[in-house]
């Protein structure tokens, strides 16, 4: 457990360091904005590009940090055999959280004070830039995950060291155990990781809503589009990482269920458990693949913000 705390401390320090360096760079660079005064009738493409560069930088930095941290944590976790896979289970959630925290920690682009500035009187909320279902689906999945972990926690049993990480069945003739099974040993840290991920996503969405509007009123559409696309990046990054470890957990849980029912008998009351295990494994694999697809799409969205903002018809955000 000490190694795990050390690993998390290293991750936190790395996230803070990146945040600090990024903040310094932002402060030193000249402000990005259109100069007030004599400007053509429509905002020019280079001016729009300049305004969008920071939005893109922030999204790419968040996704890139999440990927780098995940790879680093995964490699370090493999060596921690004493924790029987717990760091691996937590790697996706914590690395995505770190990326999202970096996103919310980076200050908005500093824009010069124009002689005349304007503001629309519409309140921007963290949920203003995507349809309601784009938030409802991840939240419902998180609730389902917590219920799944509570169910597996209740049905788990301790191993030789007293860690609730296996499933056991005893009949009149024989007893059998199988693992790793997402009992309380994995379940409680995974619930904490999920809550941290949800909070990190909320902070990033708040940052998107709270960033000052682009100074040029002609860029109103652009201003809304970068917020919509950035919201999509945050939702896809958070949901992708979450589905990745939800899927992995379900696969391992399902395999343990199948294993223990296979050890006991080929027929009888344990057969439903085998079927449940097979369903969990298949569903888990599907969730994990969906998670990877969402992560790839988050990365693509992040790197293509500058071209996407010019698409006339916004891409629906139905499934994050």
């Amino acid at each position: 457990m000490t190694k795990l705390i050390l690993l998390l401390a290293v991750v936190a320090i790395a996230a803070l360091a990146v945040t600090g360096i990024a903040g310094q760079i932002t402060r030193k660079r000249t402000p990005r904005a259109l100069a007030p005064g004599s400007t053509p009738a429509a905002a020019t493409r280079p001016a729009e590009d300049r305004a969008m560069r920071f939005a893109q930088l922030r999204a790419v930095a968040a996704v890139a940090l999440a990927i780098v941290l995940f790879v680093a944590m995964f490699r370090l976790s493999i060596g921690m055999t004493g924790l029987v896979g717990l760091p691996v289970a937590l790697a996706a959630g914590f690395s995505a959280s770190a990326g999202l925290l970096l996103y919310s920690a980076l200050p908005p682009a500093k824009l010069p004070a124009a002689a005349k500035s304007s503001a629309v009187l519409v309140r921007r909320e963290p949920w203003s830039f995507a349809p309601r279902r784009a938030f409802a689906i991840p939240l419902a999945s998180m609730a389902a995950f917590v219920l799944f972990l509570v169910a597996t926690g209740i049905t788990s049993s301790p191993d030789e060291q007293g860690r609730y990480r296996q499933i056991s069945i005893a009949t009149a003739d024989t007893a059998s155990s199988a693992g790793p099974y997402p009992g309380w040993f994995y379940g409680i840290p995974l619930i904490v990781a999920t809550l941290v991920l949800a909070a990190s996503a909320y902070l990033a969405l708040r940052r998107i809503a709270g960033a000052p509007a682009l100074p040029d009123p002609r860029m109103a559409r652009l201003d809304r589009r970068w917020r919509e696309i950035s919201t999509r990046v945050v939702l896809r990054l958070a949901t992708g990482a979450f589905l990745g470890y939800f899927g992995g957990t379900a696969v391992f849980g399902g395999m343990a269920m199948m294993g223990v029912s296979r050890n006991i008998a080929t027929e009888g009351p344990t057969q439903p458990l085998f079927a449940l295990g097979a369903a969990c494994t298949a569903l888990g694999a599907a969730l994990a693949v969906t998670g990877v697809v969402l992560l790839a799409r988050a990365f693509w969205d992040a790197v293509s913000i500058r071209t996407s903002v010019r698409q006339e018809k916004p891409e629906p955000v139905a499934a994050p």
Partner: protein, 117 residues
């Protein structure tokens, strides 16, 4: 939309207070409508948060807004000008523009008429 002109002799908080007050009285902002948070409006207008906070609290003192820590700023009901007055003002503003009067000149006419009646 509201604007803040830094070159104007009118202080920014007064510009914000005046424009919001006008929008509420003319019914452009309906009763119960939520305003942007102080931080959001200050960021968009490139002014200090205290400037917007002062404008909001003066509007609250005037009974036009209600401020709450939980829900932010909301328009209080019962302050919009009657429909016939708004229509007359719209006609007057259109006529003044047709005659190329400035806003100050148009308001001067109203002030003069106000004193006479």
């Amino acid at each position: 939309m509201i604007t803040v002109d830094e070159s104007s002799p009118v202080p920014p908080f007064e510009q914000i207070r005046e424009q919001l007050g006008d929008l509420i009285r003319t019914g452009a902002m309906e009763a119960g409508q939520r305003l942007p948070s102080i931080r959001q409006l200050a960021g968009d207008l490139r002014v200090a948060a205290g400037t917007v906070a002062r404008a909001y609290s003066e509007l609250e003192a005037a009974g036009l807004l209600e401020l709450s820590r939980a829900t932010g700023a909301r328009v209080r009901p019962g302050h919009d000008v009657p429909e016939n007055i708004r229509r007359a003002a719209a006609d007057f503003a259109a006529g003044a523009r047709d005659q190329s009067l400035t806003l100050e000149e148009a308001l001067g006419v109203v002030r003069a008429q106000w004193r006479q009646t």
